[in-house]
């Protein structure tokens, strides 16, 4: 490529990247502004006085003494919500991946009724929007007396993530030749040994891709948390931060600081796992 063409391309890409990243850059800038600077017009692009007040309030409890009788400020729950989100997304991912891996393995290695149709049911299930089954699931949680528990959320997220994980693992196992396993079986290894020592290592990239997908989906979900949970201390992060809008005035610095903190785990995960994620998209979204 000629140098001037490359220069133009860099400029165009740089401009586009800036526009795409602007909402998040603006969130970071806002989260570092003191309250009076936020409401200034015209707005300052970068805070004149950088303050970490918003982050301090979220991470180390309310710094402003709440008015008597006002109850606990929603921001005081931030760390609890953060913990809840970690528990439910990791929990549901573990369950989803375990079921998906075992199921996909059986689907590609044993013959039984329904073997052909299960993966296709799964991919159809993946297309069903969760707003359709969130209420039936909620009513079931009511009758099982599980509402407002983290466990009910875990089950809900398994419901959203399992179809795609199953599909992904199935596509993956289908590409793994069966001969090595058969040779090991002939040599006297048990099924379980074969699975642990031959199949799992080979399947690892697929497992990683499916896990990332599942973590992102359950970390980002709002609907299930909104419908299933009631008490402030049981909310996942996504539902919790929407309570920051409850008061009479909106604290934008607090809001932007929490959106930065909420994005951070996914950004780190994304940074490390980008390649696997793209591989997963390839297997799931474009066939072949």
């Amino acid at each position: 490529m000629r140098p001037w063409a490359a220069a133009i391309l860099y400029a165009v890409l740089g401009a586009i990247t800036f526009v795409v990243c602007f909402p998040l850059l603006w969130a970071i800038s806002t989260s570092l502004k003191p309250k009076e600077e936020i409401f200034r017009w015209p707005p300052t692009l970068w805070p004149e006085n950088v303050t970490f007040e918003a982050y301090r309030e979220l991470l180390f409890g309310s710094s402003v003494a709440s008015a008597p009788g006002a109850g606990v400020a929603p921001s005081a729950y931030f760390l609890t919500w953060f913990g809840n989100s970690i528990i439910v997304s990791v929990g549901s991912t573990l369950i989803s991946i375990t079921i998906a891996t075992l199921a996909a393995y059986s689907l590609t290695r044993f013959r039984f009724w329904g073997q052909r149709s299960v993966p296709y049911i799964a991919i159809l299930g993946y297309m069903v929007p969760s707003v359709i089954f969130v209420f039936p699931m909620f009513l079931t949680m009511v009758s099982l007396d599980l509402t407002d528990t983290l466990f009910s959320l875990i089950l809900g997220y398994v419901c959203i993530t399992l179809p795609f994980c199953l599909w992904l693992m199935w596509a993956f196992f289908r590409g793994v030749p069966i001969e090595i396993e058969e040779a090991a079986l002939v040599d006297g290894a048990s099924r379980l040994q074969v699975f642990r020592q031959i199949v799992l290592p080979v399947a690892l990239p697929g497992i990683i891709a499916a896990s990332i997908f599942s973590l992102i989906v359950s970390w980002n979900d709002y609907l299930f948390g909104r419908v299933f949970m009631n008490s402030m201390e049981n909310l996942p992060l996504t539902v919790g931060v929407m309570h920051f809008f409850d008061g009479t005035h909106v604290d934008w610095a607090l809001m932007m600081a929490s959106s930065v903190l909420m994005t951070l785990p996914m950004a780190i995960l994304f940074g490390f796992m980008q390649r696997h994620l793209v591989a997963g998209f390839g297997a799931g979204a474009v066939k072949g």
Binding site: V142, N220, Y222, M255, M266
Partner: protein, 283 residues
């Protein structure tokens, strides 16, 4: 094998079966023991409800604009990102990033960016001289819909980019070399090689995005709550509203089943286009 079938049954089939059952009963969550069978009453209620049709039309606007913009911008970006350039991976990473940002975060950011009084978008547009008066983005119907579409395009264009980029990388370079030898210019090469090669994958992506966008809930709900008024309702918000605000679980489920039928129709289109599952029959 048995646990597998039980798990698939419990997590995949059962919630949907339950949704279908609910759509035929009257169910008020405050009186869970009374669930009289009402036949097609819920469906008749839905089809007779002006709000349902309003939501349906708005869903078409929302889906149409979102999908077209995502496809155009997505293909454009994918072509740019496909160029052999040093440091391209950094651009790829940053441009794919919106896809993993939680919807709640985007909605919060959007409410702040598009804030009528002190939002940066109004400030930038005014100082660039494009507008003279502040636009009340989220409290006028058309502008609220436009903001929601922009949010959707921002978050999901990366999906199109990923898929198209993956396909671009599999187009044999010999094709381009041969065309160059024959004297075809860049535009000609794009029209006669790139586009036809992309056609199939683009069709699949567009069907996927249409199906998903049509039924999106969180993007709209978190940004506008369907408002102002009901001007940004789509069917998902309608179903949510019936179930939660009006406590008509049966009616909510019935509109859910209607969404499901529309989705199945979309899937049939998808299967036709992609020849989904065809290789299995020959195997």
């Amino acid at each position: 094998m048995l646990p597998l079938i039980v798990a698939v049954g419990v997590f995949l089939v059962w919630p949907i079966a339950e949704a279908v059952r609910l759509s035929f009963v009257r169910y008020n969550p405050l009186r869970p023991d009374e669930q009289p069978f009402v036949g097609f009453d819920n469906y008749l209620f839905v089809l007779d409800d002006p709000l349902f049709w309003e939501s349906f039309t708005q869903a078409l606007v929302w889906t149409g604009w979102s999908t077209v913009l995502q496809a155009l911008i997505g293909v454009g970006l994918a072509l740019l990102l496909h160029q052999p350039l040093k440091g391209m991976n950094v651009f790829r990473g940053l441009l794919l990033f919106p896809y993993i940002v939680p919807t709640v975060v985007i909605a919060l950011n959007w409410r702040w960016l598009f804030n009528a009084e002190i939002g940066i978008v109004n400030h930038l547009l005014m100082s660039a001289g494009i507008i003279d008066e502040r636009i009340a983005w989220l409290s006028t119907p058309n502008m609220a819909m436009a903001s929601a579409i922009m949010l959707n395009v921002w978050k999901y264009t990366p999906f199109v980019v990923i898929v198209v980029l993956a396909r671009l990388q599999t187009i044999p370079t010999e094709l381009y070399d041969a065309a160059k030898v024959d004297g075809a210019g860049a535009l000609r090469r794009f029209r006669d090689i790139t586009l036809p090669q992309l056609a199939e994958v683009l069709a699949v992506v567009i069907v996927f995005r249409t199906i998903w966008t049509f039924n999106k809930f969180e993007e709209i709900y978190l940004l506008t709550r369907g408002g102002p008024g009901t001007s940004t309702y789509n069917l998902a918000l309608y179903a949510f509203d019936q179930s939660i605000a009006n406590l008509r679980m049966g009616v909510g489920a019935a509109s859910g089943v209607i969404m499901l039928l529309l989705l199945l129709a979309g899937s049939v289109v998808y299967i036709r286009i992609s020849g989904f599952g065809r290789e299995d029959k020959s195997a």
